[in-house]
């Protein structure tokens, strides 16, 4: 019976619009839900991600990037957190272009807090992106 159900749900084709909304939700936190006209969700989820990202920068957090100078497995120490940071979409890209948040400020007491806020902002936006995608695909009410 469970196999039947899995097989049936597998047949449902994901509309192209859902992919675009997923992309918008990744690019600008909250935009995916705005396009779905889920105003409260957009305000709560997008707002939380924006606040977390800006607080992280304010606390002196550090955005990670693979520069090509890393040796051996050292690249993993940059790559994994970078994947988390990239979750904030254009916020990360704009900061990268403007070189904001890429300078380490380890002397600050709140530096580690800032790092954690920035990382989790990206991870939460991945969650918000999947939520917007599921709503657009009709998998979530």
């Amino acid at each position: 019976m469970v196999a039947n159900r899995v097989e049936k749900t597998g047949d449902i084709e994901t509309p192209r619009r859902a992919w675009l909304i997923g992309l918008a939700a990744w690019a600008v936190p909250g935009l995916g839900h705005v396009l779905e006209r889920r105003w409260l969700r957009a305000a709560l989820m997008g707002g939380a991600v924006w606040i977390m990202f800006l607080t992280g920068l304010g606390l002196g957090g550090h955005l990670f990037a693979v520069t090509g100078k890393e040796q051996g497995f050292g690249v993993m120490l940059q790559l994994l957190p970078m994947i988390g940071n990239i979750g904030t979409g254009l916020l990360y890209i704009i900061c990268w272009m403007a070189n904001i948040g890429f300078v380490e400020k380890a002397q600050l007491v709140t530096y580690e807090y800032g790092n954690t806020f920035l990382l989790v902002a990206g991870l939460l936006n991945y969650l918000a992106m999947l939520d917007a995608f599921d709503i657009a695909a009709g998998r979530k009410p």
Partner: protein, 57 residues
């Protein structure tokens, strides 16, 4: 005190996203969000006290 404040802000923001993205009715999601927030705070206090008694130096 600032450490506690930032930890509480962090817990609140994560709880909001977890609560909103959870399944169920509005009330269930609100309770879930509050539970996540409470668990963050409770575990942080618990770990804090455990680490307090471990002599690192």
């Amino acid at each position: 005190m600032k450490h506690l404040l930032w930890m509480a802000v962090f817990a609140a923001l994560v709880a909001v996203v977890f609560g909103v993205s959870a399944k169920g009715g509005d009330r269930q999601r609100l309770v879930y969000g509050l539970k996540v927030f409470g668990e963050f705070i409770a575990i942080a206090f618990l770990l804090g006290w455990i680490l307090y008694f471990i002599p690192f130096r």
